[in-house]
Symmetry: C2
Subunit: 231 residues, 2 copies
DNA sequence: CGGGTACTTGACAATGGTCAAGTGTGGTGG
DNA sequence: CCACCACACTTGACCATTGTCAAGTACCCG
């Protein structure tokens, strides 16, 4: 990295920190690189700090005994992760694995807690971060418990579209099998739902490129007002 | 309440606060009583503070368009709730309803944020609280996505037992239909699973009294090593 | 004592997962 | 540079779990 202090200063979590603090952070931080497929940490492992993404992406996920995955989060540029055990338990509650080549910054726990103690605005930033995570999890729980797969897929697509500037033509940011793990289902089901949506003229799919043909229908499906035809 | 300051001082979230701060808290706090069935707040409502339970219990839950409920949390004595929008959004991400007659303490947002700013240990307590919530949600997501209903019920019973001092004879702390909403299923399914477990000699059920006859089997079911017989 | 709610049980339906087989494609090593 | 292999994806047939609808019983509260 060319300039660690300036990188750290641009992380949303650390915004509003004075320069002195940024330098202290840069001093306690270390970096770590991983190849695609490598584990950052595993569930139950002892945690002595947390990470911030510099380059690449990792998935945070739970594993069932039979090997099915539920993705909790996909971490991208300048997002922190693994911060939960810093404040409560000492162990990671889920697994983290690189889905691309990855460069991470690592912040040791004790030094970071000290920093929070001395800087209330850092504490409030962290509180805001955890609160947002909580809201996001609330949505995930709602989806898994109260909505069917077409509805969850529709929500995902609409969300992608809104983050891509409300465009109707978008490109999936992840593979369809990873998408299945994000939605809490399996690749076969994702395929079938895409097929049904295509048949209904709601979307057009070509590999990872997807066109939202009928946003209105999509919104109805995502909110559960109507459900998708069987066949 | 006889002595607000001493009550507040005994809330885990506020432990380790100096007396002066406790008095400031007592000054900004108000109280609120609700009858069974009354809403504390609803999803999407503007939030200007959070609550701490003094007496009774409330359920925090999401609602599907068809009226199905998923309970996220049951709040009991001296637990805080509704604190998420204090730090991020301005709106409650779920509903809260009294399941018994309830007495609450309310802390307005801005005064509370000021207090956090001035007291790092309060900030760390709050960070620990949100982290624990996050871990709990992680478990809920895991259950909904990766485990079947018998497994979730088994986990619930084992959890109850451990919190009741490892006793084998326990009393459900909630009605079976509320239990269904906690587990992310419906009362009919809970009934059937209890019936199957009884038939297998795993538990004995009599109204709300439940005896865990075969804890070992129950643990196997909860962890997904084995599954329950069909009939 | 009455009424409503909680709970149970049965028959049925449907969502979505499993298993299997086949197609396409991108990356790598010969 | 091409062939091959692994993997991502698709599709079909089948089945299991769980939700829906309906009816009946029991129980608690007023």
């Amino acid at each position: 990295m060319k300039n660690p202090v300036s990188f750290i200063g641009n992380i949303p979590l650390f915004k509003s920190l004075p320069n002195g603090q940024l330098e202290r952070l840069a001093n306690i931080a270390t970096t770590r690189t991983l190849k695609k497929g490598e584990a950052v940490f595993s569930e139950g492992e002892e945690a002595d700090g947390f990470y911030v993404m510099v380059r690449g992406r990792v998935k945070i996920y739970k594993l069932s005994p039979e090997g099915k995955e539920q993705v909790l989060h996909i971490i991208g540029f300048s997002e922190p992760f693994g911060e939960v055990p810093v404040f409560s338990g000492g162990r990671f509650p889920a697994n983290a694995q690189a889905i691309e080549e990855v460069l991470l910054m690592f912040f040791p726990r004790s030094a970071f807690v000290e920093l929070i103690r001395s800087d209330p605005s850092l504490a409030l930033n962290m509180l805001a971060l955890l609160s947002k995570r909580l809201m996001q999890f609330t949505g995930l729980i709602e989806g898994l418990s109260l909505k069917d797969v077409p509805s969850r897929l529709a929500s995902y697509l609409l969300d992608l579209s809104s983050r891509a500037g409300e465009s109707n033509a978008l490109e999936l940011d992840i593979s369809k099998s990873l998408l299945a793990d994000v939605l809490g289902t399996i690749p076969e089901t994702v395929s079938r739902v895409f097929a049904r949506m295509t048949g209904e003229g709601i979307v057009a799919v070509e590999g990872r490129r997807i066109v939202l043909v009928d946003q209105k229908r999509l919104r109805e499906i995502s909110s559960g007002v109507v459900s998708l035809q069987l066949k």
